[in-house]
Symmetry: C2
Subunit: 322 residues, 2 copies
Amino acid sequence: MNHATKTSQLPTIDEIRAAVKRISPEAHRTPILSSSYFNERLGARLFFKCENFQKIGAFKIRGGLNAVRSLSEEEKSRGVVTHSSGNHAQAISLAGRICGVQVTIVMPNNAPQVKKNAVRDYGGQIVECEPNEPARIAAAEAISQDTGATLIHSYNDPRIIAGQGTTALELLEDLNETPDIVMTPVGGGGLLSGTGISVKALSPQTKVVGGEPEMADDAKRSLEAGRIIPVENPQTIADGLKMSLGTLTFAAIHKNVSQIITCSEQSIIDTMKLVWERMKIIIEPSSAVPLAALLEGNLDVRGKTVAIILSGGNVDLNKLPW
Amino acid sequence: MNHATKTSQLPTIDEIRAAVKRISPEAHRTPILSSSYFNERLGARLFFKCENFQKIGAFKIRGGLNAVRSLSEEEKSRGVVTHSSGNHAQAISLAGRICGVQVTIVMPNNAPQVKKNAVRDYGGQIVECEPNEPARIAAAEAISQDTGATLIHSYNDPRIIAGQGTTALELLEDLNETPDIVMTPVGGGGLLSGTGISVKALSPQTKVVGGEPEMADDAKRSLEAGRIIPVENPQTIADGLKMSLGTLTFAAIHKNVSQIITCSEQSIIDTMKLVWERMKIIIEPSSAVPLAALLEGNLDVRGKTVAIILSGGNVDLNKLPW
């Protein structure tokens, strides 16, 4: 399937507006914070959209709730299934509970107990599989085939992308100025894809830039090569950013994103700690990546207005990386 | 001096309104957050005024800026002096820098280097003394005598109390409902005193309640006894709450505060961690005290609307208490 075909499957801004209506009863309209410390360090005006304050502690509830609530009554009665060990698992589980839909989550058998508990607390049912990507996909597809449950991929799905796109929609509505640049972290690319669609529809002159760990820089390499170059088992502390782009997210990013900039593992840790110290907010490593790439000097933002989506704040406080 | 005399020295609501004008060019109007988790646990509607997001990471800049900016030009030319090893030291130092006033801070010679550095970064000059209360007071008074610098006590000063009172003024203006209860931590009592004056002027039916560590419960005992009962060298993790009430703050609390409730050291740590985990914001131990006392069940707030001032977020991330 070529890019044009995939592009036609991407959600439009109207579908993102419809997603706003679907998610707004439960999802928070998160605040935007600023920091004179980071403004001074970068010589720029930065605004941080705080999805760490979102329900479940991450933007993922937006896509999850939009996807589950988009289903027909008949589809809802058959349940949903997904594979994830991260924030998407909690998002779909909570969305299922809110919408009265049965949820099955395929998780690697070595997933941390705390993540399993979070899913179970929301009423999700866990099916364990071998800890590798093919096993996860196979298990989820088998469940979907057997039970008729709808498979909701964590990013390569137009309903998920539309839900994540609501973050930037709110950001642009709530900011009192037009940003020169909007940045998000990029893993599988759901957030960056939805952000690109919203930004290009509402503020075409604004550039959309992704931030990615050097150790998992498949999106950067894919965008530069003009084709998907997956990354295999990347080692990064930003555990939300280990996935490779999918066909849909590649098409969306190829169409709307100007550039992807990267940062080192040490920068991620240092920046995360600096945000905690200076802004008094808790962000997870993935959230620190765009700012870390700016602090490394990998994009000149002097004099610019830059809005950064802080994607989440789910961190084990007993295992901090410093 | 009796209570009536001291009460006449307390700032009025008009003086707190004047303080708003003095501090607003630099101090943040901090946001108010809520948490469905804590609402459900307590069966109440809680609102948190986030002074951890304030400049210098604590409400103390309000009092510091109000006090320094209140001085005459002649007084400003002679500088200011105070004794503090905590947030007040940074507040006066930054206020001095903003107003072009020379600042001397008396600090115990065992104060952590990070606190000394923070003062020096703002341009404050440090004079060291023996690490005890009489030595601090004597050193600061000697400097004031020698140089003509104005001594600004960290809480027992009407200008400081008026500045701290701006927090509750903003809180009541920004909340869309009338709280049944407003809570703050209490150490020396500057914040609780200013809060009481603002709340009783703007919303007389609202109760004002203090939260205090069991291990430093001088304010509770003083309020119950009707006279100041100081605490000596208390051992609590809430290092912002070790001071005893002063004559002015006792008079203010005696007049306007309904009750002081306490909590254990373990509750402070547990509550602090829970706020980090659930609200994704960083608060210091002192800030956790009112909520910790509620979670211990020491005041029945079921069905009530309770506003809590989170006083600050200055924590050494390398030395967490869990």
